[in-house]
Symmetry: C2
Subunit: 197 residues, 2 copies
DNA sequence: ATCATCTTGTTGTTTTTCCAACATACTTTT
DNA sequence: AAAAGTATGTTGGAAAAACAACAAGATGAT
């Protein structure tokens, strides 16, 4: 268990929390560690969620199957990232699956326990909540930006909106793009070959 | 001030918090009340945000001006709803304006103070954080669903995805749609007249 | 160095959307 | 009841995107 904590020590979720405090966190939040083989389902569509996950090792993908059975990749989870936290908090049944891309290890934490801290109200608990608020708010901002791009009607406008946002974010007319062409096309929901015209 | 609290007493933000505790909240979170005339700017694009808002009276709209100057309405804020909370938490400069549609009153609360509770760690403070987590998570889920619809390539598929999600949410083959045709077209980012074919 | 694989650019055809204009139905106001 | 306003349905032509298929270039492994 201590071993797993070492791997996630610079995760945003536990930012500014001392290593000593982490082991007590596991008790407070009913931490459970699970291992998954490549290809296994970590969370499945339609199953209720009470805990959110923190990936300690491996790689996961969040996928969605629409009413026609088409698969689309919503996001890739890398080590130290959390997932399913929003669904855990609103007690909604998620409409996506999480699958292990390689052999993976996940630390599940109780979302209820996190937001209703124990009576002693330990300092690390406050910090955890603060970190979680930051992470979810950040996702929120990113989702809003994605929608801003996708709301544009034309591929050209979607792309220009994306580039404009990146330029602002990186505060320069030159900036780094984290996607390759196909990836960017998928992100914007357009055809790769249409992006160049 | 007490007057304002009365108006928001069944806001999700202060769910399960006693009225007596609310006045101490105002102190803790450095509550500030501001009034706006119809048409005035409540928050402006590019200005840093340290507080988030809770609308106590009136009606606001969140709008965005893209690089071409085109205006698009992101959301309408009704009384008891909070706004700008995600941007306040990540300390990112918002890319949208908030404008008063009618004369409005806003209670601004300090986001830092909320997530770093005072030493005594009052019980209402815990509840506030819990409520905020719920609200933000819920927005997150809604944004994700919108993206799910908009990711579909064709208008027909966007619409079917939306309908399918609503059907699941309302757990019935018959369900209520909160938008009129034009509103739904705007939400999905398509042409109204193309939705019917 | 060669081969296989992945990424990107290019093209032509088909499909779909956009846009603008107008007809019809429904609501609200006077 | 009439009028004005709003929401919805319908259309045809222009514009754009989707799709599929292939070429050229880059990358990586053996």
């Amino acid at each position: 268990m201590i071993n797993e904590l070492e791997k996630i020590k610079d995760s945003l979720l536990i930012k500014d929390i001392k290593l000593e405090e982490l082991s007590s966190m596991l008790g407070c939040l009913r931490g459970v560690i699970k291992h998954y083989k490549k290809g296994e389902e970590v969370l499945s569509q339609g199953a209720e969620i009470k805990k959110f996950g923190l990936l300690t090792e491996g790689k996961l993908q969040v996928v969605q199957y629409d009413y026609l059975g088409n698969k689309s990749i919503l996001s890739i989870i890398e080590p130290k990232q959390i997932f399913a936290e929003a669904y855990a908090y609103v007690n909604k049944i998620p409409s996506m699956n999480v699958e292990a891309l390689v052999d993976s290890t996940v630390l599940f934490l109780d979302s209820d326990k996190l937001s209703s801290p124990c009576h002693n109200c330990c300092t690390f608990h406050k910090q955890l909540v603060k970190n979680l608020l930051f992470i979810i708010s950040n996702k929120n901002v990113n989702l809003t930006e994605k929608i801003e791009c996708m709301s544009q009607r034309k591929t050209r406008e979607k792309l220009l909106t994306f580039l404009s946002l990146e330029s602002i974010k990186q505060n320069s007319k030159e900036f780094y793009i984290q996607y390759d062409r196909q990836g960017l096309a998928d992100y914007l929901g357009v055809e790769r070959s249409a992006m160049i015209q």
